[in-house]
Point group: C2
Chain length 298, copies 2
């Protein structure tokens, strides 16, 4: 399948590696505004060639958009303007409401499958691309009844080829849930990195940073180019989640300050429950095979 | 060397593995108040036998204390009461001021070397013990001029045998710095786990938890038995660090809420500097070999 990937960073580049390896993509065209990243992507063999956007989306089977959400919202209408009637378009981005809203009346809206694979690292650019980045992770597909069945089926098959399970939800549910499990942890890590730099000198941080500190601030290394627009597009829910988080931190701080030891212990024990949630079995998970069966028999 | 380890959890158990492997310890006596952990430690070969506390600290060369800080502060004077004049005692705990204060006038104070290896995982108990847990990590030694030179040298040699570098600081500096790089990240993770559980159901958290979320809340799995007393003993500095963190989070939240986009981007870019701090080279690090040379020639 001829596949065009727009944005050859961590996500686009990793996708290129896996789709080529599984032969899901037989020809990969790249679109990349950063000339250095464009050369690297060709040198690394992520794509067969680089083309300008409008040329690259014409006469292709599949277009994958993997660029920062502020750039995506600018060019998504242009992409839909230029594709043929049979071309499927999917995106990989972390916010969905505003993006879907921007093309809701477009005549090719049903060619578009809004998606969000929950996978990444704190690194960016084509050299950060990893094989198997998506395996055993979850992808969200939003408002799936608004996509044409053949386009939805193709994207489901693509995620299946990557080894992903699929969660279906509305764009609003995705933006709300993702605020808590992804955007808030990033904001928390950015603020933690700033707080620690505010109070401890570089030498002390370097000397004493243990594995625990490193894992908690890991996300604070994440690219501003990617994250700033995510926070802007999901402002409503990220602000809500920050308010909830600050309230919980303040409660923890006040318990400690006031020697409310029983309550403090209860707060820690409640937090500990995250272990059983993260390590448990979830009966509600829709495995992509079951879902595909459901889809094909409906 | 005959070595007594008090507390056979993650830290005591991991230490037993490495000290035995390197032949630093030729005989290891364990003290463990939890009967299940005591049996596990013997079955796993972490210790040669279990003895009651008073018996185990008499006629031994080295006593290592690796128990929660509230328990340590209870039994440290008793340990010093019962050791011989040549026995060295070190602890491995995360707070230092109150512990050192509790034995400042003890006649065996100079036998005691207060230490804090900056290494651990979110797991606990003898089955969580890992080989090489300490390799290439930093350990703090506090108020080292208050320990007898032969006791200090022995503990430095022990940490060197574990592959650790040593940072020397006062108990107050250690409690202050550790509040920021260890206690605050734990408190932040506990509050984040509570905030997310407050707003998202188990199924959503399980489905959508990406690597980023998992790494940010990993510390929220940590044992209440260990962490509650750490927060209590270091209340002053942990409250201070939480106040600083809440202020930075509130600033981030307000920038986002008020569309102060330039400032929000600057906050993210400042947070990104943590990468160069954590991945850089630190000229101030005192390698334990250099320090030992210094010590032996002074």
């Amino acid at each position: 399948m001829k596949t065009t990937i727009i944005g050859l960073g961590l996500i686009g580049g990793s996708l290129a590696k896996d789709l080529r390896k599984s032969h899901f993509a037989t020809e990969i065209i790249g679109v990349e505004s950063n000339p250095e990243h464009a050369s690297q992507a060709v040198e690394l063999g992520l794509v067969d060639r680089i083309e300008p956007l409008e040329e690259a989306v014409k006469n292709t089977d599949l277009v994958i958009i993997a660029i920062p959400v502020d750039k995506e919202i600018e060019i998504l209408p242009l992409i839909l303007d230029n594709i043929g009637s049979g071309t499927t378009v999917a995106d990989m981005s972390s916010t969905k409401r505003e993006i879907i809203q921007s093309v809701k009346d477009h005549k090719r809206r049903r060619n578009f499958v809004p998606a969000h694979p929950m996978s990444g690292t704190e690194n960016s650019g084509p050299t950060a691309a990893l094989e198997e980045l998506f395996r055993d992770k979850i992808t969200i597909i939003c408002d799936h009844s608004e996509s044409g069945p053949q386009h939805l089926a193709l994207i489901e098959k693509m995620f299946q080829s990557l080894g992903m399970d699929i969660a279906y939800m509305s764009a609003d549910e995705q933006d709300h849930s993702t605020a808590y499990v992804s955007h808030l942890p990033h904001a928390a890590a950015f603020a933690l990195a700033n707080a620690v730099q505010d109070k401890a000198d570089r030498s002390i941080i370097f000397d004493l940073a243990s594995g625990g500190f490193r894992s908690t601030v890991r996300l604070a290394k994440s690219s501003s180019t990617m994250w700033h627009p995510i926070f802007q597009q999901n402002r409503k829910y990220v602000v809500e989640s920050l308010d909830v988080y600050i309230r919980h931190l303040q409660e923890f701080r006040d318990c400690l300050y006031n020697n409310e030891d029983d309550k403090l212990r209860d707060l820690i024990l409640n937090a500990n429950k995250i272990r059983s949630i993260l390590e448990g079995e979830n009966p509600h998970l829709i495995k992509n095979e079951e879902k595909l069966v459901k889809l094909y028999t409906k």
